[in-house]
Each structure stands twice: as C-alpha cells, then as structure tokens.
C-alpha cells in the first residue's frame, strides 16, 4: 500500500467533493419530498433510507477508490470489462423484469443493474484502449477495438431492451474518440454510419413503446393518456412552479400522483415545481460546476488515460442531465435515463460516486511525482 503522499492530499479536489455532497443532499431532500406521501408505502422513509444507505456506501467506495492509483485500472480494465459483459449476459438469462424490460439481477434486498456498472467499466476500458494509441489514429481500422468494445455491451443492453442507456454509451464513445484525437474524417464517417443505422434501428431494433415515445416527442398532442400525459403532467408541474416554486414538499403533481415516475425519471419535475425557476437554475448551475470541475481535472491529468477517464465521466453526466431534464421539459424524447445524484436508483448512485472517485483520483495524481 503506497504511502499517502502529502501532495496527493494537497491535490485532492475538495471543491468537486463539495459539489457532489451538495448534489447528494439536494437529491435526498427532493426524494423525500417525492416519496414521503406515497400511500402504498408502509414506511414513508423507505426510499430515502435506502438511498441514504447507498449514498454512504458509495461515498466510502469513492474514497477507497481514491487511494488506489488509477494507473492500476489500466491493468484491471479487461477483467472489469469481461466481468461487466458477463453480468449483462446474465441479466438477459436470469434477470427480472422491471417495467417491461429485463434490467436487474435481484440479489437479496438489492437489485443489481449491470447496465449502470457497464457504463463505468466502458469508460475505463475505452480510456485504456484509446490511451494506448497515444493519439495515433490513421485509419478506421485503428478504431475497431474501441468500437467493438462499445458495441458488445451496447448490443446486450439493447436486448434488455434499454435504448436510453445504450445511447449513453454512444455519447461516451463519441466524446472520448474526439478528445483522444480521432480525426474529423473518421468522426464524420462514424456519425454518418449512425445516421444511416438509425432508420434501420427504427424497423429492426426499436420496440413499439420506444417508437411511440419518439413520435410523442415529435408530436406531444398524440397519446394524451400515455406518454403524452406523462410529458404534459411533467410540464404542468414545472410550469406551475413559476419563478419561486410552490415551496418544499408542496408539489401537488406528485402528491396527487398526476406525475408518474416522480421519484425516479421525473424527479426533476417535482424539484422544478417546488423550487421554481430559481431553484431549477441553481441545480443546473451545480451540475454545470460539476462538469466544469471534471473537465478541468481532465486538462490537468498527467496522462492520456486519466484525461480520457475524466472526459468519459463528464460526457456521461452531461448526456444524462441533458436527456433527463430535457425529457421533463419536452426538449428530449422520453427515455428511462435517471438524473445523476437526484433520481432514486441505488446502482446509479454507487456508479456515479465511483466515477467521481476515479476523477478525484486522476486529479490527486495530476503531476508526475518528482524525485
């Protein structure tokens, strides 16, 4: 076990830690507001207790991750990767169904959600594969290992089916390719491929409910009782919050159950209704500072591997924030992507905190150790 260098402490980004802790507190309070009135709960604090427990575990894991030099992850990446692929395969074989798709493996009181873990692992894996090339990308062939590494878990997740999470992978891949130095020509070819593949996906990959959601996004008036209703109720919640909000715990949309999924995917609606525009923008600002901090660490990382990890994490968070909040205010289609640190979700919370741990880790070791 290496000695904890004083420099490591000095380089520890308390600023980032503070942001994360603040987000966790905001998330817990919002979760309490969204769930304590759920009549079906015997214990009104059921969700809050679980999320708090998981958050504490995640924070401990985050700190533990900080002690292990992230360089080690370079060697562990392939095992982590194989492990995550195995879990993704397992979930298809023995997973249990949640809301129409197989996403979790129940382990006692805990539902393991391999797709969340796979996001984190993919970032590490891609960072290793891309860093190894040290910026040398001469042809598409050089990208094949990374593409395959991404395609495999994405394919397994699409089989669940979970389009939203699969798209997160695509975003991570694109962001990391770009920063790793993939030339614009290759980027464009890949983008074109995705665009061509999209219509094919419409016919062969997408399930009816997913097509429905996309169509509703393009035309919110249709399906006023299903997805359209969710969207409308979400906007009613946020819009009725106004400038200052209805006040903490005063969301009528959640209390009267007009808003579906108000503690998970649509929790931002509850927040927007209760805290108003000022609160919502403050939350956005917190997220923005979080991303800024992660990217700042990326630019100061001592090596490409570290920088790429940070970029991957930043892109992951940004994409999830955009899609989740965007969905609640109808600038994005409805997908099942949670809002980092705010939505209820045990796996996501642990994985998000681990990701932050890794970023903190990169930040702590940002300068080559001088002898």
């Amino acid at each position: 076990m290496p000695m904890l260098d004083r420099r490591l402490i000095k380089n520890f980004d308390f600023y980032l830690l503070l942001l994360v802790l603040t987000l966790c507190v905001v998330g817990t309070v919002t979760l309490y507001s969204a769930t304590h009135i759920m009549e079906e709960l015997a214990d009104p604090l059921y969700y809050v207790r679980r999320q708090l427990l998981v958050t504490c575990c995640g924070l401990v894991a985050m700190l533990i991750v900080c002690f292990i030099d992230y360089i080690n992850f370079q060697n562990w990446s392939r095992y982590l990767y194989l492990g995550s692929i195995a879990l993704l395969a397992l979930v298809l074989v023995m997973g249990s169904v949640r809301k129409g798709s197989m996403r979790v493996i129940p382990i006692g009181f805990f539902d393991l959600q391999p797709s969340e873990i796979a996001k984190f692992v993919l970032i590490v894996m891609l960072a290793k594969l891309l860093a190894d090339r040290e910026g040398h990308f001469h042809s598409l062939q050089d990208l094949v290992p990374s593409l395959l590494a991404t395609a495999l878990p994405m394919g397994l997740i699409l089989l669940q089916p979970d389009l939203g999470t699969a798209l997160v992978f695509l975003a991570i891949l694109a962001g990391m390719f770009y920063v790793a130095g993939v030339k614009k020509r290759e980027m464009l070819i890949l983008a074109a491929t995705v665009l061509v593949a999209a219509p094919l996906a419409w016919f062969f990959v997408l399930h009816d409910y997913q097509k429905m959601r996309l169509m509703v996004f393009l035309n919110p008036g249709m399906d006023p009782t299903g997805t359209g209703l969710q969207l409308l109720q979400s906007m009613i919640g946020i819009g009725s919050g106004g400038l200052f909000g209805k006040g903490l715990f005063e969301s009528t949309q959640a209390r009267l159950r007009f808003l579906p999924e108000h503690h998970t995917d649509f929790i931002f609606s509850v927040f927007g209704e209760e805290m108003g525009f000022i609160g919502a923008v403050a939350l956005l600002l917190l997220f923005f500072l979080l991303i800024y901090r992660i990217l700042w660490i990326a630019t100061h990382a001592k090596d490409q591997f570290g920088a790429l990890i940070c970029v991957g994490v930043a892109v992951m968070f940004t994409f999830q924030i955009l899609v989740n909040i965007g969905m609640t205010i109808s600038v994005m289609p409805v997908t099942g992507i949670p809002l980092p640190f705010i939505s209820y979700g045990n796996n996501a919370m642990i994985v998000n905190l681990l990701s932050i741990g890794l970023v903190l880790n990169v930040g702590m070791r940002r300068h080559k150790i001088q002898f």
């Binding site: 910026g135 946020i238 819009g239 400038l243 009267l256 920088a307 955009l322 600038v331």
Partner: protein, 618 residues
C-alpha cells in the same frame, strides 16, 4: 495534455455550456412565460366540484294536508376506494340489481377521471334488495347505500294533472325557459325539472338552490380532500287553494258515474270527463279534475303506455280539452239579446216544437212544443226555439262579443299550471279565417246561439263563465297556489284574488240571467229533479252538446250555489256522457251536496234510471 486535446476538451466544454443554456432557456419559458397557463392546468388537475342537490319544496292543500313531499330512496352506488373496483363485488351487484356485468363495467369505464363520484347503479331499490346488500356488506368493496330524496306523491293519482311530474326530458318551449329565468332559475340541460302541472310552473320556487362542494382529487379522480362547501338551500313549500278532501270526492263521483254509464252500455264513449270547483269571489280553485287520471309515482314506468293510450289520460282536460258547450251557452245568447235591447225578460214567445227560421227547419228536443214562454221559463226548460229567435235577434256579432265578455275564446289566466288553451268563439271572422273567406249564414247564428257551430270551450272557461255571472261581472284570475313559504317558515308570497277585468254586462242583465239559472233548478226546470233535495238554492244550466259525429252528445253542467250568496261554482263536462241529466248534472249535484252537507245521499242510480220525463231535457 497536448494542444489538440486541450482544444477538443474546450470544444466539449462549449457544447456543455450550450446545453445548460438551452435547458435554462426552456425552463424560463415554461416557468416564467407560461407560468399562468400551467398553474391553471395544475389547479384544474386537482380541484373539482360536486353538486349538492337541494331538497325540493313540498306541496300542501289549503288545510295543510301534504300532497307532495320527498322520501328517502336508497341508491346503490359503487365507489373506487383507491384500489380499483372489485370483480366479486361487481358480480354480486350484477345479480342482485339485475344489471348485466358488462353494463356495470362499461359504466365504470365511462367514468374515466370522475372516480370521486360514486357510480350510481340503481335508484330507489326495494327493501329486499337493500336487505341482500346489507347482509353481504362485509364482503362487498366500495358499495354504498346512499339516501337520495325521491319525489313522493302522497296522493298517488289524485290531482295528478294539477301537481304534475318531473323528468330530465327537454323543455320544449322557449316561453317556459324565459319565465323560469325571470324567476331566477337558469335551466341546465339534463336537470331534473317539472314537466307538467305545478311542478313545472313553479319549478323556480320549488327547486331551491343547489349547493357545491369543492374537492381535491388525484390522478385517478379519487377523492383526496374536502375544501369549501356551499350548503344547498331547500326549495319553497307551496300551499294550494285545492281542498284535498273535495278533490278526492269529485274524482270518486266522476269515476263512479262514468263506470255506471259505461256499464249501461248506451254510451261506450263516455270515457273522459272534467270538473272544476271554484270560488266565484276570488278565482281560487278548490277542485279540478281531469278523468281518467294516472299515478304520479309510477310515471317513469308507465309513461310510454300512457302516451300510447287512446285517449291518453295525460292532458289536463279541464284546461286543455275543448268542447262545444250546448245549452249551457244560452246565458250568453240571452245576455246578447238583452244587452242589445232585442229582448225583454218577460217578452212572450211561442214554441211550436218545430219551426222554420232563416230558411232552416229547427226543432226543440223530441219536437216537443213548449208553448208560450218568457226568458225565465225558456231557460228553465231549455227551449231551443226561444234561443234561436233570441240569437237571430241579437246577431252573430253580438253573440261572439258577449261570449268573449264572459271569458270565452281566450285563456282564463290560470298560470299555476301550464297549458291552458283559448278555445274558439264562433264568429264571422273565425269562419272566414278557417274556410278561406266564406260568409256567415243566419242559420249558423242559430247553431251558435245554442252553443254549437264553432263554439268550443274548456271546462275551466265554463266555470269562469258561471263565476262572472255569480259575482256580478268580475273576471278573477283562476289560481291554485295560495301561499309560498320558504324552508324556514317565512311566507314569501300570499296570493290575493286578482280581478283581471270587469265584463261589460249590465247588472240588470246579470240578475235576469241569474234568476233564469235559478229557475233551472226549480220545479219544471231541467235540473229540478237532481238539485231539489239540496239545502241550498242552486243556479245553473244543463247542456248536451252535439259532437258532430255519431257519438253520444257531451253532457254538461255549469252553475253556482247558494243562489243568494254564491260560495262555489261547479262546472262539469262528460265527454259523450249523453244528455246533461244523464251524467254532468248528477255529478255536479253530488259535488254540491257534498260541499254543503258533507255527505252524499244523492239520488240513487236506480232512481236516476227512472229519471225525469225524458222529453224535458235539453
């Protein structure tokens, strides 16, 4: 980190900034620009109001006897208590209430986001069904037995035409809607409102003001919380001029006589009749009967059948049925001739039995020659030839003028129940209008003079006519509602008699006419036999009106008593009842006997069979 990578991270950062600006801008639009709209939508989501139905006012007779009230009726309703509807419960209710399960389920589906409202499955269920539901209560989920006011017509079919019934049917005429609106009642389509009788005309007073309960509901429309409540204001109670006891007796008398008449087989068409008993000094109606009647408590079940019947018992014959009134018109003819100076009360005229006048050969009843007559004896024996001459002397224009003076040809002004009709006064103008300009012939004047021709009036007009004669020429507005009392017992309205106009007929003429009517019930008069045993002197006139087809004539009577100081007017019309003496006169006599003595000994039907000299009547 090399320069290229740094730049690329910077570009990503710029994209991140763009994303956050986009989200903030959209939030500003929703939360600031469109805030009002979404706030409205949010309030609309969660609040709704339930109507609280006001108890409808009760109706009493003149002595405070209850006629119409509300009784608690049990309504079975099903409510979603938060976990949907229970299949076993639906199956049980389907069996007990005899409603298809499918029907219940589609009603549930139809409820959509109104689950805060109990779903009413069946109203006014029988005690057996209540018992079965109560026994099984422990296993039924969300089943309520709600108590609802149901209109209870305590008197069943008595005064059915006056009281009227309610339904959710459409209100046909704009007039009614306007009158209701004037009285402060705004009709909403689908509301349960009075359709006929007092229930309709007094709807704005009876209905009260519905209350409202504001409630909060959730996404399934389930009730979450109660908010402001506005209590309903019960409707006003009405006290009628009607005497329930008298009304019942009159209905019984008519029913008994008509059954007896039909039983004899001579007048198979004697199926309908009407009678009006009125105070000549106020227009207050003490009894008003339209026979046959129907049961108000069964109107919803029976309605289709009642409409289909021929003739239907639904219209109120007393003010909607029009009849030629035969010899009861003769006071009009006399008035016209007397007022125009064409006749003196003691002028002698000779009745030869058959005579040719105005190129038309006319006869008295059974061609009997009445011999020398003055006005009094002519009215007493109802000599046609005397009144042909009087009619010809006065002329058709005078006849129609004085008919109108006596209130014929336009509604008498009864507004407490809807639907009064005007009737038709035979006149030159009317004939011209209906025949396309044909001229009037003197022969027709003779028909008109004995209440035939186009003359066609309601029983209420017949009563009003006798009232005008009895009270010395005042046309009072006939009325049924004496007093309006609010739910706290305050008298809102107490009706005073309303003199609509004074008939332009000299008092001398009226007293001659009254004396003539008195002579009808005196020895030798057509009504003597039936009225002779009464303790009061009756003034009246009998009549038999030709129907114009081959049916038996309508039997009529109108008159008042006591002659010296009139208390009541009685008018009776029996459709195809035969001669006046055969139906209307005995009915009127029994009504008066009951009114003045409290019992009916009457003239027994067996005696009536023996009857008066058959040739005396007309």
């Amino acid at each position: 980190m090399n320069k290229t990578m740094l730049n690329r991270v910077r570009l990503i950062f710029v994209i991140v900034i763009g994303i956050f600006i986009l989200l903030s801008a959209r939030l500003a639009y929703l939360q600031i620009v469109q805030h009002d709209y979404y706030l409205y939508r949010s309030e609309n989501n969660r609040f709704t109001t339930i109507d609280l139905v006001a108890p409808r006012g009760e109706i009493y007779d003149r002595d405070g006897e209850i006629l119409v009230t509300n009784r608690p009726g049990y309504v079975v309703s099903l409510m979603d208590l938060g976990d949907g509807y229970d299949a076993d419960t639906i199956a049980f209710l389907s069996e007990v209430l005899e409603i298809e399960e499918e029907e219940i389920r589609s009603a549930i589906d139809g409820q959509l986001y109104m689950r805060y409202l109990p779903l009413r499955l069946k109203s006014d269920i029988t005690p057996e069904v209540i018992a079965r539901i109560a026994e099984n209560r422990w296993k039924l989920k969300g089943v309520n037995l709600e108590v609802h006011p149901i209109r209870d017509y305590r008197v069943g079919s008595t005064a059915a035409h006056i009281l009227g019934y309610m339904s959710q049917g459409t209100i046909g005429d704009q007039d009614t809607l306007e009158r209701w609106a004037e009285a402060g009642y705004e009709y909403e389509p689908g509301a349960l409102v009075g359709q006929t009788g007092i229930e309709r005309s007094w709807q704005p007073w009876l209905c009260g003001r519905d209350g409202e309960q504001r409630i909060e509901i959730n996404n399934l429309g389930q009730l979450v919380n109660y908010y402001e409540r506005k209590d309903p204001v019960p409707g006003h109670n009405l006290y009628l001029t009607l005497d329930l006891e008298l009304q019942r007796i009159v209905e019984d008398i008519i029913a008994r006589h008509l059954e007896a008449i039909r039983a004899k087989g001579k007048n198979p068409d004697a199926r309908r009749a009407a009678a009006v008993v009125m105070d000549p000094h106020s227009g207050a109606i003490l009894a008003m009967v339209s026979y046959p009647s129907f049961d108000l408590n069964r109107i919803t079940q029976d309605y289709a059948e009642l409409v289909a019947m021929n003739p239907s018992p639904l219209p109120n014959l007393a003010l909607q049925g029009t009849f030629p009134i035969g010899s009861t018109f003769k006071m009009v003819t006399a008035t016209a001739a007397l007022e125009e100076g064409k006749l003196g009360a003691y002028d002698i005229s000779y009745c030869p039995g058959t005579i040719t006048l105005a190129n038309d050969t006319k006869s008295c009843f059974n061609k009997r020659a009445h011999g020398a007559l003055n006005f009094y004896s002519a009215l007493a024996v109802s000599c046609n030839i005397y009144f042909y001459r009087a009619g010809l002397a006065a002329g058709i224009d005078a006849l129609s003028h004085y008919a109108r003076e006596y209130g014929f040809g336009s509604p008498t002004g009864l507004t407490d129940v809807p639907g009064e009709v005007a009737g038709v006064v035979a006149s030159r103008e009317y004939k011209a209008a209906v025949t396309g300009g044909e001229q009037w012939y003197p022969a027709e004047t003779m028909s008109a003079a004995i209440g035939q021709s186009y003359n066609s009036f309601t029983p209420l007009q017949l009563a009003n006519y006798a009232a005008i004669i009895a009270n010395g020429g005042i046309h009072y507005r006939p009325y049924l509602v004496q007093k309006v009392v609010d739910s706290e017992g305050n008298v809102v309205q107490d009706r005073a008699p309303e003199a609509l106009r004074r008939a332009e007929i000299g008092e001398k003429t009226l007293s001659i006419v009254r004396e003539g009517m008195r002579r009808v019930t005196q020895p030798g008069g057509t009504g003597y036999y039936r009225f002779s045993h009464l303790p009061v002197t009756v003034a009246g006139k009998t009549g038999s009106a030709e129907t114009g087809d081959n049916r038996e004539p309508h039997s009529l009577f109108t008159g008042y008593a006591p002659y010296e100081d009139p208390e009541i007017v009685v008018a009776v019309v029996v459709e195809c009842g035969g001669l006046g003496e055969e139906a209307a006169v005995p009915i009127a006599a029994e009504i008066m006997e009951y009114y003045f003595t409290g019992t009916i000994k009457g003239v027994l039907d067996s005696d009536a069979d023996a009857g008066p000299p058959a040739d005396q009547e007309f």
